[in-house]
């Protein structure tokens, strides 16, 4: 499958199954738009008749021959790489989203976690549950060496003492079992102080710092229970944390909504604040929520992604580059095909654990008790549900099989599918459209910067 698109002066072709990205002359673009595989060795007469009057016969033949060479080299109309089914049936768990706090001190308007409560009572994970969660991870990790534990909430720093206790316990487990546990945290930043920052910078492999952009954008969406915004509290703390982080990974991460669709301004504001790793993501909410993104919003969002792509190209050329998470693509050293087919691995290699020790397919399923997989204090997890999640990959989903962007998104988010589509294996269409647009922008940026 080949996806062709034009953007500004670029004719771009993505060969979906091989990942090859080609910049084409006008002749090659016009030819490729008309070719259906398998390519014959000689340019078909009807194509030649159509394009020779425009470009000249010799040049059309020359372009065709170059395309044919790529076809022979499996960089055009290539076949999907077969993957072994057994890979998806493994029940190894390598990553935990640890709900260390089902409580939050902010009242963000779009929060999928019900402002930390997850539609239950507010609660904090105990050290006992946290330690058992790590034992559970080790027991289920098989031969995998690199394990991950994300401190998540609610706001995890409301339970910092237990974060510290679990982290230190994890360091003991690493030595005992010859594993590496990569601790990460997603925080709203309000409770950061020098002591916490020092600890996090020492122990967290990655930190996700929540902020939505400019003071106006952020404070309209992210505020305390009294309604006051958090921007001016968190910004200096984020700067201090990042300054002390060295080469360790971090992201400032926000959400755009129906009311804040000029998110390029927010991304650039965060870049101007000195942050180099930025993610601003589309909100996911029910259609009737005032902040939700709807089908009719897509042209506006697409235009905004275009604006952001141009801004990134401009700044990179000026020597002021920054990473935008959803435009990041490594055309030479990205994930392997198995990873691309499997996607996020929720319910299989990635699960969430609540303060009570309940296990869910991921953090977004925690409010859906019908999806509970088990409990870390019990021996078995629900096999029927885990099997269903293991089957949720781009080989098995009809809409994904025929989508040119499938190897970039890995089949999308099963939780979004479950909540807003017709089940974990039925893609949430708005997310698909946004994903395809972002891939086009990411490839366009590569094309523009390759000049």
């Amino acid at each position: 499958m080949v996806h062709l698109f034009q953007k500004n002066d670029f004719n771009i072709a993505l060969d979906s199954a091989s990942g090859a990205v080609h910049l084409l002359s006008d002749i090659a673009y016009d030819l490729l738009a008309e070719i259906t595989p398998p390519m014959p060795q000689i340019c078909p007469q009807k194509l030649l008749s159509r394009l020779a009057p425009v470009y000249g016969q010799e040049k059309v033949n020359e372009a065709y021959n170059e395309l044919y060479e790529l076809f022979l080299d499996k960089q055009l109309f290539s076949e999907d790489i077969p993957v072994q089914d057994s890979f998806f049936k493994t029940k190894t768990i390598k990553a935990l989203c640890l709900h260390i706090s089902h409580d939050c001190n902010l009242r963000c308007r779009y929060c999928f976690a019900d402002c930390g409560e997850f539609h239950r009572t507010r609660s904090l994970m105990t050290g006992e549950v946290g330690r058992r969660a790590l034992d559970f991870l080790i027991e289920h990790s098989g031969k995998i060496k690199n394990l991950e534990v994300d401190f998540f909430g609610g706001e995890p720093l409301l339970n910092f003492d237990v974060v510290r206790e679990i982290t230190i316990y994890g360091r003991e487990l690493e030595k005992k079992h010859n594993k590496t546990i990569r601790f990460t945290m997603t925080t709203n930043g309000t409770l950061l102080n020098d002591e916490v920052i020092t600890f996090l910078n020492e122990h967290m492999y990655n930190i996700v710092l929540s902020i939505d952009g400019t003071p106006e954008t952020n404070d309209a969406l992210r505020f305390y229970a009294d309604g006051s915004g958090c921007y001016h509290d968190i910004l200096p703390k984020y700067k201090a944390l990042v300054a002390g982080r060295g080469n360790k990974s971090y992201y400032v991460r926000g959400t755009f909504t129906r009311e804040t669709m000029s998110f390029t301004d927010d991304v650039l504001h965060l870049a101007d604040c000195g942050f180099e790793h930025i993610s601003i993501e589309p909100v996911v909410l029910p259609n009737d929520h005032p902040l939700s993104l709807r089908q009719e919003d897509l042209p506006r969002i697409f235009a905004e992604y275009d604006r952001l792509a141009e801004a990134i190209i401009k700044r990179t050329r000026q020597g002021r580059p920054f990473n935008f998470f959803h435009f990041m693509v490594d055309l030479d050293a990205g994930p392997c095909v198995y990873k691309r087919v499997k996607g996020c691995g929720s319910g299989c290699e990635y699960v969430a654990v609540t303060p009570e020790g309940d296990v869910y397919p991921c953090h977004q399923f925690v409010e859906h008790t019908e999806c509970k997989l088990g409990n870390i204090f019990e021996d078995e997890l629900r096999k029927d549900l885990r099997d269903r999640f293991s089957e949720c990959n781009i080989c098995n989903v009809e809409e994904c099989r025929t989508c040119w962007a499938k190897y970039f998104c890995g089949g999308g988010c099963p939780a979004n599918n479950y909540k807003y589509s017709e089940g974990i294996s039925r893609p949430y269409k708005i997310a698909c459209e946004l994903q395809r647009k972002r891939v086009e922008c990411a490839l366009y940026i590569k094309a523009a910067l390759a000049e």
Partner: protein, 51 residues
Amino acid sequence: MKNVKTLNKTTYTKSSVGAGCGECQASCQSACKTSCTVANQVCENTKKNKK
């Protein structure tokens, strides 16, 4: 080539020998917690080889 400039040095086919080790990061642990993107993830083996 006069009419085609390929941006990649390799393709999925050529980079997939020995793949599927499962040592790379779960995508939702990096930055996104509300959507899924895998193409921006890093292969653990490639990362190791770069060091």
